[in-house]
């Protein structure tokens, strides 16, 4: 390469530098005192419907989604489309549950799920378990954003080699860390406007141009079916077979229940001005799910275009290179790179909140919330980004979606304490902790024995049922939580103090 940069490269660099400036500017947005954790971490809990729509869309539909879901469709076919029911049913769920969480968090000043669990169940250990799970599940998720970015940088022509793509990744991350440190949640909230606009432009352009050039959707689906069926190992199909029904549905359900208890989702939810903002967005955010479906279908377009990839993550970038004029690839690649920066910033903030408020302070005592809590969270957000960078350089990119599914299976293990805890205090805190241990262990065991796949063949009464690890582990967790609650209540073990009152929830 070494020659003059192309129009696409220039556009990509200009857009990324532009959002960097926007990220630093965001510190002055709304004239807030960013020394308050509520301001730095939650934008002052004051975002209205429009800002929240962009922020949540930018947060949940990440660069990983835009690269890895079509990559899965490209590599494995119909199973990738579990992402569609997944992102359909999560909203009715959020409509009911997360508004209740928002209400109690607003009334009692919670910044994290672990804050709530600590008050509700009066258990330091359960608080710690929830916080550690959040950090653990977030790290590989941030790493995935990096992998999505790296795939684009390598294919955009801007980085001539793997090494230089890595270097650019580090530069982008230093900048990301700096404006997250300075502006907190306001930085990704401001950048999300640009990111989402670019993504919509890119996808609309892609679905108007690419299928037409490939002979129309009917031909795209037929060609994808032929290509998938011809895969030498693990031939696929564009319609799931009956043996995969349960895996498909359990993946969708498990992922849908997990999505909004991730620290970065909670951070965005809590930044809303009112419960009404969240409710309205539950009807408006599905527009992103339609976008995601078409993005996933680009994986089929890549098959129909006859692309062969050593790394499935390259399918979409290469498709853009093939069908878009050079200058427009700059826009499309910027959409993905910025699409990685927004959620990475929110994830770093969400995980830092857990670390600062629930892990460090669990040892220091809750009553002594230090005045420098925000500064602690700021430095931890940097540390988390560094850790994620180290993970990103250490794992095989083609495993990226499975690592995300592993993180999803972990995060779902806090569901009984966080979500069921919103409705009932019946569970014994020690039982929830036992259930959590069971769920985490079951996840790890199934992931190891299936070679880090999302689906595990559970043998039961002589038949083997492929189902989502996330779902099986959750069932194990629930079963242990219920059984141990009966046991511990029968033994009259002290069950902690609940300092929340009924009025906090409505």
């Amino acid at each position: 390469m070494g020659s003059a940069p192309t129009a696409g490269t220039i556009i990509l660099v200009v857009l990324v530098l532009g959002v960097t400036i926007l990220g630093f500017w965001a510190a002055r947005w709304g004239n807030a005192n960013l020394a308050h954790l509520d301001q730095w971490a939650l934008g002052g809990r004051n975002f209205g419907t429009v800002v929240s729509w962009f922020l949540l869309g930018g947060d949940l539909y990440t660069a990983y989604t835009f690269v890895a879901v079509p990559a899965l469709a490209f590599g494995a076919g119909a199973i990738a489309f579990f992402a569609v029911p997944y992102t359909t049913i999560t909203y009715p769920f959020v409509f009911v549950v997360m508004t209740r969480f928002w209400t109690v968090a607003k009334k009692r000043g919670y910044v994290t799920t672990a804050d709530f669990v600590a008050d509700r169940f009066g258990s330091r250990w359960l608080e710690l378990a929830v916080a550690i799970t959040g950090v653990l599940a977030t790290l590989p998720y941030i790493a995935l954003q990096l992998i999505g970015m790296q795939a684009v940088l390598e294919r955009s022509g801007i980085a001539p080699s793997h090494g230089s793509a890595m270097l650019m990744l580090i530069v982008a991350f230093v900048l990301l860390g700096a404006y997250t440190f300075t502006s907190g949640l306001r930085a990704p909230a401001a950048i999300a406007f640009v990111k989402d606009a670019l993504i919509y432009i890119t996808v609309i352009a892609a679905i108007t141009i690419i299928p037409g050039k490939l002979g129309g959707w009917t031909h795209v689906f037929d060609a994808a079916q032929t290509a998938l069926a011809a895969k030498p190992k693990n031939p696929g199909s564009i319609v799931i077979g009956s043996n995969m029904y349960f895996a498909y549905a359990s993946l969708a359900l498990g992922s849908a229940l997990a999505l909004f208890i991730y620290p970065h989702s909670v951070t965005s939810i809590l930044s809303s001005k009112s419960a009404g903002v969240i409710r309205r967005n539950c009807a408006l955010l599905p527009l992103y799910s339609i976008l995601l479906t078409f993005l996933a279908l680009l994986g089929y377009c890549a098959l129909a275009a006859g692309l062969h990839e050593t790394n499935n993550n390259f399918a979409v970038p290469d498709l853009f290179n093939r069908f878009f004029p050079n200058w427009f690839t700059g826009v499309a690649f910027a959409a993905i790179v910025i699409g990685a920066l927004v959620p990475a910033a929110i994830m770093a903030i969400g995980a830092a909140n857990l670390f600062a408020s629930n892990i460090l302070q669990s040892f220091g005592g809750r009553q002594t919330r230090p005045r420098n809590e925000t500064n602690v969270a700021r430095y931890i957000s940097l540390a988390i980004l560094v850790c994620a960078l180290l993970i990103a350089t250490g794992i095989q990119p083609s495993f990226s979606i499975n690592f995300q599914l592993l993180g999803g299976a972990w995060i779902l293990q806090i569901f009984p304490a966080v979500v069921l805890g919103l409705y009932t205090r019946w569970f014994h805190p020690a039982a929830l902790l036992s259930g959590w241990v069971a769920g985490m262990a079951a996840t790890a065991a199934m992931a190891l024995s299936s070679g880090f796949a999302a689906v595990f063949k559970l043998s039961f009464l002589g038949t083997s049922v492929p189902g989502a690890i996330i779902f099986y582990a959750f069932v194990a967790n629930l079963a242990v939580s219920v059984l141990c609650t009966w046991l511990f209540r029968a033994l009259r073990l002290p069950s902690g103090t609940d300092v929340t009152v009924v009025g906090d929830y409505a």
Binding site: V84, P92, F95, I238, I240, Y245, P286
Partner: protein, 64 residues
Amino acid sequence: MKKRLWYWLLLVPFIATLWPPFYARHDPVIFGFPFFYFYQLVWIAISALIVWVVYLATRERTDG
């Protein structure tokens, strides 16, 4: 509170999308999309509509 009954509507998307036998087939092809894809796309829209209806029906003055 009769209003609470509206929340039951929110279960409909779960039933419609978590039972693949309803839609895991190729035909009919609609607008070039096999039924598997058409059905799931349409249900994104129907679910959003259901959420909006429930929102309007259960809205309170204090919601903001």
